[in-house]
């Protein structure tokens, strides 16, 4: 049997020379000035987050037990992260890497012999079955995925090979893993530019990521419930997300994507830009080479990030309630969940978060 642990966590803690694990600060790659700390893998891109797509990939490959663990350092953006994984529930804890150690131990009981350990960060076109076959052929406890730029945060671990007392961070840090070279497309999602590149690559068929919904005419993808006024013009390639609304005289062009529950108001032009979910873009505006997220505007051409206070220009739309398609609560109950909830009641200590 094969299991998978997917972490919404900062990078793996570095092992200092003394050997004990210490958590790194600022290891995550998202830009501080934009998106307020939400991992880019948890942001809806062409209808679904990279995290959600990753879970689906595992399910399709026949992985029997999937556990999603969220690290408390992302607690301030917990709602957004939860929204990103509508196909599977996330369990939150103080330290997702320690949670992974516990989950790995529990995997031994139902007879899971191999576990994928994935940090939700990059978009990687990996065939789990091919990677598994490679791992089994290597006869090593750990295999790590690599691309041309170096290691990726994807490991395949022999569950039986990990000692009962062993910490997963130590195992991964100290072992010399087998190298599995990912043959497919990789986007490390290290910043908003990568997010935009992923959209362009997908809409230009340079990767296997397919937009949600249906292709209503060549290159124009429209998801369920999207409304386009008859005087608006959508120039391919473009994507319109679920329940998005494009008003009169608008123009959506040059690999632009308008994600779910967005509204583009009268006469506005969206060119070579991404409008992230639940955003409103006002009347008669010109959005070019940019990413809009609620009241945040990031102009990639000029490298300028702005927070606009005028709700008539851009703002966050009301976020719809999370769809009730969650599976029953995770069977791998996590000890730290309770304490995290208590901590949240007390008010979060943001010292750890500020450096990220």
């Amino acid at each position: 049997m094969v299991g998978a642990i997917i972490l919404v966590a900062p990078e793996i803690p570095q092992l200092p020379r003394g050997g004990s694990a210490a958590k790194t600060s600022g290891g995550d790659s998202r830009p501080e000035e934009f998106k307020k700390g939400t991992p880019l893998a948890c942001i809806e891109v062409l209808g679904r987050s990279v995290l959600e797509r990753g879970v689906d990939q595992m399910l399709r490959a026949g992985v029997n037990a999937i556990t999603l663990l969220g690290d408390s350092c992302f607690a301030p953006v917990r709602d957004e992260v939860d929204q990103a994984a509508t196909n599977f529930p996330l369990t939150w804890g103080d330290d997702a890497w320690r949670g992974a150690t516990r989950t790995l131990r529990r995997h031994k009981e139902p007879g899971i012999d191999v576990t994928f350990l994935v940090r939700a960060a990059a978009y990687v076109e990996l065939d789990p079955l091919d990677a598994l076959q490679f791992h089994r052929g290597q006869q090593q406890v750990v295999t790590r995925a690599f691309d041309e730029a170096g290691p990726l945060d994807i490991w395949i671990i022999d569950t039986a090979g990990v000692a009962e007392s062993e910490d997963i961070v130590r195992t991964l840090g100290e072992s010399e893993p087998a190298r599995y070279e990912v043959p497919g497309y990789v986007n490390r999602l290290e910043g908003p530019r990568d997010l935009r590149r992923l959209v362009v690559d997908s809409l230009s068929s340079r990767c296997r990521l397919r937009p949600q919904g249906s292709e209503t005419r060549p290159g124009v993808w429209v998801d369920e419930g999207a409304q386009v006024h008859r005087t608006a013009r959508i120039v391919a390639p473009a994507f319109l997300g679920r329940k998005s609304k494009i008003e009169e005289q608008c123009l959506i062009t040059r690999c632009s994507n308008v994600e779910s529950n967005c509204q583009i108001d009268y006469g506005t032009v969206v060119e070579d830009s991404s409008i992230l979910s639940n955003s409103y873009v006002g009347i008669g505006l010109d959005v070019s080479h940019s990413i809009v997220n609620g009241n945040q505007l990031l102009n990639l051409e000029r490298g300028v990030a702005l927070e606009i206070q005028d709700p008539g220009m851009i703002r966050r739309n009301a976020i719809p309630r999370k769809e009730a398609n969650l599976q029953p609560a995770d069977t791998f109950d996590w000890e730290e969940t309770k304490s995290t909830r208590e901590e949240e009641k007390r008010g979060l200590d943001l010292d750890d978060v500020s450096e990220l």
Partner: protein, 135 residues
Amino acid sequence: MPITKPVVIMELPEVLNRETAQTFLLELQPLLESHRPRIVLDGSHVHYIDGSGVEMLLQCLEEAMKRDGDLKLSAVSPESEVILEFLRVDRVFEVFPTSEDAVRSFSAIPAEAVPQDTPLYGGLFGDVQVLKQAS
């Protein structure tokens, strides 16, 4: 010899929202109401500008043009440029890197750009005397 009116440079406030825009407009009003106002608004200290701020700039430009004058912007920060583009007014204003450049631009054709020994129309219509004779 004609006396040219001086160009006035005014610094825009750090924050240009509804309130500060109104205050700034009141300060600028006497200048805008003069004959042929020539104004440069220096944006080097602007940290934040919203729709009301841009509206005020457009109002000033309109007033200046009504009185046969002009209003130009200088030292606009990348953030303000993004907002001007976003609101589609970036092409309405003349924008210069510095206030000095903006002031110089009020002299329509710089003296050094025009050769002093040949008439301006020479290259276009040839010799005017020859044309007159032919007619």
